[in-house]
């Protein structure tokens, strides 16, 4: 006998497995009875009616790089805030976890402000 929480995880994984099987089976059912008629034009990529030129995976300017960097930090910050929010009602005395989280957020607001400042300077990127 497994623990109830673990059983729920198994139910979920089983659901995902079944949900994976259904579209794959549907894909095979659809693909197999076809007579494919490939032609060079059909297999070209679409470029708004022009003949495609150059590589598909061209180089692009990453304009919003500071946002991406700060996102990596704040994704983790959100997890810490979740942990804090969950224990908010059970902490004794109430509100004892607030100063640490305020200092934590204050420290992290500085790089956020700097990255927004950097990202707003378009000519940098």
């Amino acid at each position: 006998m497994v623990a109830p929480g673990l059983a729920e995880i198994f139910y979920y994984l089983g659901f995902i497995v079944v949900a994976t099987l259904v579209p794959i089976i549907a894909l095979f059912l659809i693909v197999t009875p076809r007579d494919a008629k490939p032609s060079p034009m059909k297999l070209e990529t679409y470029e708004a009616g022009q003949m495609p030129s150059g590589r598909g995976r061209t180089r692009f300017i990453i304009q919003y790089y500071p946002y991406l960097l700060i996102f990596v930090i704040y994704d983790v910050v959100a997890m810490f805030l979740f942990a804090w929010a969950l224990t908010l009602r059970t902490l004794q005395p109430p509100g004892s976890g607030t100063w640490p989280i305020l200092i934590f957020m204050g420290v992290l607001l500085v790089p956020l402000a700097y990255s927004i400042h950097l990202a707003s300077q378009r000519d940098l990127w």
Binding site: P23, L27, A36, K37, L43, G56, Y67, A78, R89, L102
Partner: protein, 346 residues
């Protein structure tokens, strides 16, 4: 329980008739997801048409074209599946199918009522939000594997857009966790069962839409951005980059790619009604499941109305608004919730 080796037929019959199998296969599982998605596509087209003084789907059934999506499904299924010449074939096929599976995985966590839920995870809310995080990756994968310019631009846009909405989405959901003290979705609904205000014998339901009004608004906006629907449909903007990451997809794969966003519309409407609208709770004569359905239809109709009425935002506007206004308001919502829960003391 029959032995699976000595009595395989009896074992499979027991599996087939078990309530869990019904949940996985019929409701709230796969069959119902398929049918509801088809109905959502019809609702989307019909509402948009009414707002724009058109008629929308009309002929496919006596009831205003309800069966149009099913007819489209059959048509898509018989289209030829061809893959662009230079594409990475495996990932090109896998990405939209995985997006569809990811959407179904979201629905598996939603409690429609305490009985009608596939998996009651203790960390249901973070699991939902973590599962959501996968979809921009899949869109980038689809855009990269197609080896074509427009899909690639769409994939990159999806990645940037994720950085804009993801943090406000999580932070607005934190308000609910602070109020409820649990991340279990059933627990969150049960925490809303106590009436909020009793005044001269009148009681307002204790749904979190009232104390969490700002959080609910932020969640609504960021969830719309997550679903990549207008006004935030940058990765597939038709007039700019020609359906973006979906541009190269034929037939069934296009149906999976487009259907995945509707599965997420369904799942997010359900999550919104669970977090903020009290889930299955409501006055007694209407059954609980019907209350959930009514709330889901109201929320999803609102999201569809946005599509019919708003223009598309620009990506730099979205990023800047996401990192300044939305993030700032999300922090403000946390402060307000803190004052509500703990009071003005540190």
């Amino acid at each position: 329980m029959a032995d699976p080796i000595s009595d395989p037929i009896g074992f499979s019959l027991e599996i087939m008739t078990s309530p869990l199998f019904f949940k996985v296969a019929v409701f709230p599982g796969l069959t119902s997801i398929g049918i509801i998605i088809a109905l959502f596509i019809w609702l989307d087209r019909k509402i948009t048409a009414r707002v724009q003084l058109r008629v929308g789907p009309l002929y496919a059934s006596p009831l205003g074209g309800v069966l149009q999506s099913f007819a489209d499904l059959i048509k898509f299924a018989f289209k030829e599946l061809f893959i662009p010449r230079n594409a990475d074939k495996f990932f090109f096929v896998a990405a939209p199918v995985l997006a569809l599976i990811g959407g179904a995985g979201l629905v598996g966590l939603i409690p429609f009522t305490p009985e009608w839920q596939i998996s009651n995870l203790e960390l249901g809310l973070p699991a939902f939000l973590a599962f959501v995080t996968l979809s921009p990756m899949l869109i980038l994968l689809a855009g990269w594997s197609a080896n074509s310019k427009y899909p690639f631009i769409g994939g990159l846009r999806s990645l940037f857009q994720q950085t804009a909405y993801e943090i406000p989405l999580w932070l607005s959901a934190i308000g609910v966790v602070m109020m409820a003290g649990t991340m279990n979705l059933i627990g969150i609904v049960q925490a809303q069962s106590k009436p909020w205000v009793i005044f001269l014998g009148l009681s307002i339901p204790g749904w979190y839409i009232i104390p969490q009004a700002l959080g609910a608004l932020l969640f609504f906006i960021t969830a719309t951005a997550e679903m990549e629907r207008i006004p935030f449909d940058l990765p597939e903007a038709e007039p700019e980059i020609i359906m973006g990451w979906q541009a190269e997809y034929p037939g069934f794969l296009f149906m999976s790619a487009a259907g995945a966003s509707f599965v997420r519309l369904y799942a997010f409407s359900a999550l919104f009604s669970v977090l903020y609208l009290g889930g299955w709770m409501g006055p007694a004569p209407v059954p609980a499941l019907l209350w959930t359905a009514i709330k889901i239809i109201i929320v999803s109709s609102l999201i569809i109305l946005l599509r019919a009425t708003f223009p598309r935002v620009r990506i730099d506007q979205l990023l800047r608004a996401g990192w300044t206004y939305l993030l700032g308001l999300a922090f403000l919502n946390i402060v307000i919730t803190y004052l509500l829960v703990v009071g003005p003391r540190i």
